[in-house]
């Protein structure tokens, strides 16, 4: 392959790599079209066919602009803008032949494109891809400048250039002033809500999540994590039943006061964005994160929907008491009619005290052969709760929670449905808890006078294993589960947990290093604000230190390690002369040097000649016996 072909191919490859993350986000046909154009360019550079004519490139440009506009209804914004940019860069590649201005423009555009890949994802994998691509583009640029260079050597050079930039990059990452919010908002164009819904709860909804092994949030506890049976992560609460679905609160009121009955537990949650306002907290939250509020139903709400990964700290008490709740009446609501058999069952317990009624209902679920399954039969009748409690008796947690809450209300005990997550997986490698979408759960809260709202988990009555050991051990053997949710410790799973530690550290320390954390960090260095002399000292001092280090490595005098004693004596002689300003060049032969030194220091000419002759005779004439004489002469030589 000729060097021109190879270099053109390299540039095409680097551009393809830079565009890959963007193409993956484009409609399939646009992706295929651009990929085909890139492939055409690659073939063209291999076969050295003539460049595409100018009119064709212009026509293609117009067609692509129209197509992009058709696809995105816009030529700006993340997806529309990137589609346009990707199209134009691909076409520009056809103009980049050899070391021309066009080629340089393509190199710069490729660097830009690869940087914008972070608009799609900021994961460690994307970081790795971008670094790889940076090396590829640098290599293509190096080949443009020096087409004769050996590719392997230049790859090493490109890699080394990247590594040399790392210290400066880290320094600026840590010290360069950050804005409190993102400079421009990263648009979330899909706007897909993930995880639990706060709109409604109906049968089949949570079980859809049961197969989703993506991470919902991660938790670090300040102390030992509590046992998994109390890890109820409180999310949306539902207290209105319309006969089939449970709906969110219709009215708002002042939250009741929670009286903690035990020690409080501090922990930090890193929540993946779910585009909704509610935050998760362990039952019951006592200390809220900044700028969050608690609702009447004891839900923690953030001020704005969670669009970016967010880390917050709160504290909870695992035992509590609530004395009064102004919204209690709402927790008794029932539709006027429907589910007569359930109502009849509840009517049997009317005489009992409230606590006994709860216990009776739990006993009913435990003793009547209820099955906890991911694939319950569909409830078709209008009396869905009757159907579940008396006919099918198979369900997932939302069936149990919904039916139990209905049963309680029918028996006269105030009750409501709470959804959220239960349990989680403790990652011992990273000492944090991973809670996945599959850990989504629903349970019931009942109001008991004197105690207030207390949690009853009807699922635990039917399938205790769900709470004790998680989903994998509690569903029937036949149901299929994704790898990550299986209970057995296969190596894939262990590897995945290790990788999750990496992802979590990345999120915490790189993505999560925002203006607030920067401020905290700088305060630890004693820097109050960015206009202080101390800050400038750190910044400029750091830059000077790094550049100075490089300068030292490059400019440091290379002293050869000499095994030959004669050479060492001679070097001593040269150092003595260097002090008098006559410095021997590394490539300068001893005779040439002696001539120069004698001219500079004529009064020493005799000595210089004698020493040089002695040295030459030993080192090049093989007369080793004269070594001692050389040593003595050099020692006596005092210019």
């Amino acid at each position: 392959m000729k060097t021109e072909q190879r270099n053109a191919l390299l540039l095409t490859g680097a551009v393809a790599l830079a565009l890959a993350p963007h193409l993956a986000a484009q409609p399939l046909w646009l992706m295929a079209l651009l990929a085909a154009l890139l492939a055409l360019r690659a073939v063209q550079s291999l076969t050295e066919t003539r460049a595409l004519p100018r009119w064709l490139l212009l026509a293609l440009t117009v067609v692509l602009i129209v197509l992009v506009f058709q696809a995105h209804r816009s030529l700006i914004g993340r997806d529309g803008g990137m589609a346009l940019l990707a199209s134009l860069v691909t076409l520009k590649l056809f103009e980049a032949q050899g070391k021309t201005r066009d080629s340089h423009i393509v190199v710069m555009l490729a660097y830009f494109c690869t940087g914008t890949a972070f608009l799609h994802s900021q994961s460690p994998a994307m970081f790795g891809l971008v670094m790889l691509d940076t090396v590829a583009i640098t290599l293509a640029a190096l080949q443009l400048e020096r087409p004769q260079g050996a590719p392997l050597q230049q790859t090493r050079l490109a890699g080394r250039m990247l590594l040399e930039a790392v210290p400066l990059a880290i320094l600026l990452f840590v010290l360069f002033p950050r804005l409190p919010g993102p400079l421009w908002h990263i648009p979330v164009e899909r706007g897909a809500r993930t995880g639990l819904s706060s709109d409604r709860m109906e049968p089949g909804q949570v079980s859809q999540l049961a197969l989703d092994d993506s991470v919902a949030f991660r938790v670090e506890f300040d102390d030992q994590p509590p046992p998994r049976s109390v890890l109820y992560w409180r999310g949306p609460v539902f207290d209105y039943f319309d006969g089939r679905r449970w709906l969110p609160p219709q009215r708002f009121y002042v939250p009741p006061r929670i009286a903690p009955q035990g020690p409080s537990l501090r922990y930090h949650i890193t929540l993946e964005p779910h585009q909704q306002r509610w935050l998760l907290a362990l039952d019951m939250p006592t200390v809220l994160p900044e700028s969050a509020q608690i609702s009447g139903r004891l839900q923690v709400m953030s001020a704005a929907p969670v669009m970016l990964r967010q880390r917050y700290t709160l504290a909870s008490s695992l035992t509590w008491r609530i004395d009064s709740d102004p919204g209690l009446a709402l927790a008794r609501q029932l539709p006027a009619a429907g589910n007569p058999r359930t109502r009849a069952l509840a009517a049997q317990w009317q005489a009992l005290p409230a606590e006994e009624r709860v216990r009776a209902a739990v006993a009913y679920l435990r003793s009547n052969g209820f099955v906890y399954t991911l694939e319950p039969p569909l409830l078709r009748s209008a009396h869905s709760i009757d159907e579940f409690l008396f006919d099918t008796r198979q369900g997932f947690c939302e069936h149990f929670a919904g039916a139990f809450t209905f049963l309680m209300r029918a028996a006269g005990v105030p009750a409501r449905v709470v959804t959220g997550y239960q349990g989680g997986e403790y990652n011992t490698a990273g000492r944090y808890l991973i809670v996945r979408q599959a850990d989504a759960h629903a349970w019931t809260e009942v109001w008991l006078d004197g105690l207030g709202w207390q949690r009853i988990d009807p699922t635990a009555a039917a399938a205790p294993a769900r709470i004790e050991s998680g989903l994998a051990r509690s569903i029937p053997q036949g149901d299929s589960l994704p790898w990550m949710l299986r209970g057995d410790d296969n190596w894939v799973r262990l590897l995945h947990l290790q990788l999750d530690v990496l992802v979590n550290d990345w999120n915490q320390w790189v993505i999560g290093f925002d203006a607030r954390r920067q401020r905290d960090f700088l305060q630890r260095l004693g820097i109050g604000d960015f206009l202080s002399a101390r800050y400038l000292g750190w910044l400029l001092g750091g830059v000077a230190l790094i550049l100075g280090g490089f300068a030292f490595v490059i400019l440091r005098p290379r002293r050869l390690k000499l095994a030959d004693p004669a050479a060492r004596h001679y070097q001593r002689f040269c150092r003595k002369l260097a002090r008098r300003g006559v410095v021997r060049m590394p490539q300068e032969g001893p005779l040439d040097f002696a001539r120069r030194a004698s001219n500079a220091l004529p009064h020493l000419a005799l000595q210089i000649d004698a020493i040089t002759n002695e040295y030459l005779a030993i080192r090049y004439g093989g007369e080793q016996h004269r070594r001692e004489s050389l040593r003595v002469q050099v020692t006596q030589f005092n210019p």
């Binding site: 004769q148 260079g149 050996a150 050597q153 290379r558 050869l560 030959d564 050479a567 590394p586 490539q587 300068e588 032969g589 001893p590 005779l591 040439d592 030459l616 005779a617 080192r619 090049y620 004439g621 093989g622």
Partner: protein
């Protein structure tokens, strides 16, 4: 060591200097090349004294001299000789060509076709000529001094690398300096001056001197330096290929001869530095242009530290 032969050679050098004015360094290198038993390539513009130098060398050293002007219609047999039927004897008799000399001046070697060039170069390597299946040994010593004009490449056949490698050294003469040129213009005609010269040396002395050159000491430290230079030519990506082991060997041989001519019984780095451009110049061609890059050779010499 001070050889008894050395004064004779210095006298020869002096004599050469009186013919070729102002070119002491080139003369010393040319003599080193012959003492190291190597063939010499002189590359320069017409009229700067290439042919005169070759002629003078042969003359002063007392060697049998033949000159062949290479042209595009020169055939191999024109150099090596032909077998002609002898009617009296009733068989073919070999008539040796001009190559059967001790010094063969191949003038403008790049004008001949590759076929003729390779016949000459084969003879240089094998030290014999084979005609009609019969081998005829060449006289000893046998030197080829070739000249070529670097500028006029139209209708010329540049020597390929493998054949350039057969020449131990390549020299450039360059214009004489002002004083030397003045002397030249005022002085006697070079050619008639040449014809009046008596040989200073004989073949026996030349062969003895060559044997003495073989004895000049090479230390491990010097081999380190030669190896560093050779390795640098191989690692430098701007050269098409580095120096061959044959070139390294030639570098050491020529350095020995150079040291001997100075009267030293050991080779020091300065000898190598003096010889290196002549030995490496025609062997190191630029990867980009395919032409020799003399500036790069000097740069390389300046970049490699003496170990």
């Amino acid at each position: 060591m001070n050889s008894a032969l050395l004064p004779r050679f210095l006298e020869a050098l002096q004599r050469l200097d009186s013919i070729i004015l102002g070119k002491q360094d080139a003369l010393r290198l040319a003599l080193s090349c012959l003492l190291a038993r190597g063939h010499l390539l002189i590359e320069d513009l017409p009229g700067v004294g290439k042919t005169t130098l070759a002629h003078a060398l042969a003359r002063v050293l007392g060697l049998k001299f033949q000159r062949v002007q290479f042209t595009s219609d020169l055939l191999p047999a024109d150099i090596t000789g032909v077998s002609i039927y002898d009617r009296q004897d009733g068989r073919f008799r070999f008539h040796p060509g001009p190559i059967f000399a001790q010094v063969l001046l191949a003038d403008e070697i790049n004008r001949a076709t590759p076929k003729t060039q390779s016949a000459l170069l084969e003879a240089m390597a094998e030290h014999q000529v084979t005609v009609d299946g019969e081998s005829h040994p060449l006289p000893r010593p046998f030197y080829v001094i070739a000249t070529q004009n670097p500028l006029q490449q139209i209708g010329a056949f540049p020597l390929p690398e493998s054949q350039l490698d057969r020449f131990l050294m390549r020299l450039e003469l360059g214009y004489p300096d002002e004083r030397a040129e003045r002397e030249l213009l005022l002085g006697q005609d070079r050619r008639s001056l040449l014809s009046t010269q008596e040989p200073v040396l004989g073949i026996a002395e030349l062969l003895a001197a060559q044997a003495e050159v073989e004895q000049v000491h090479i230390s491990p430290a010097l081999v380190d330096y030669v190896q560093a230079l050779v390795a640098a030519t191989r690692n430098d990506p701007s050269f098409a290929c580095g120096l061959s082991p044959r070139a390294a060997l030639g570098l050491i041989q020529a350095s020995r001869a150079h040291a001997w001519l100075i009267g030293r019984n050991m080779v020091i780095p300065e000898d190598v530095q003096t010889i290196f451009p002549g030995v490496a110049g025609h062997r190191l061609v630029q990867r980009a242009s395919g032409r020799p890059d003399h500036a790069a050779v000097l740069r390389l010499l300046a970049a490699i530290a003496i170990p």
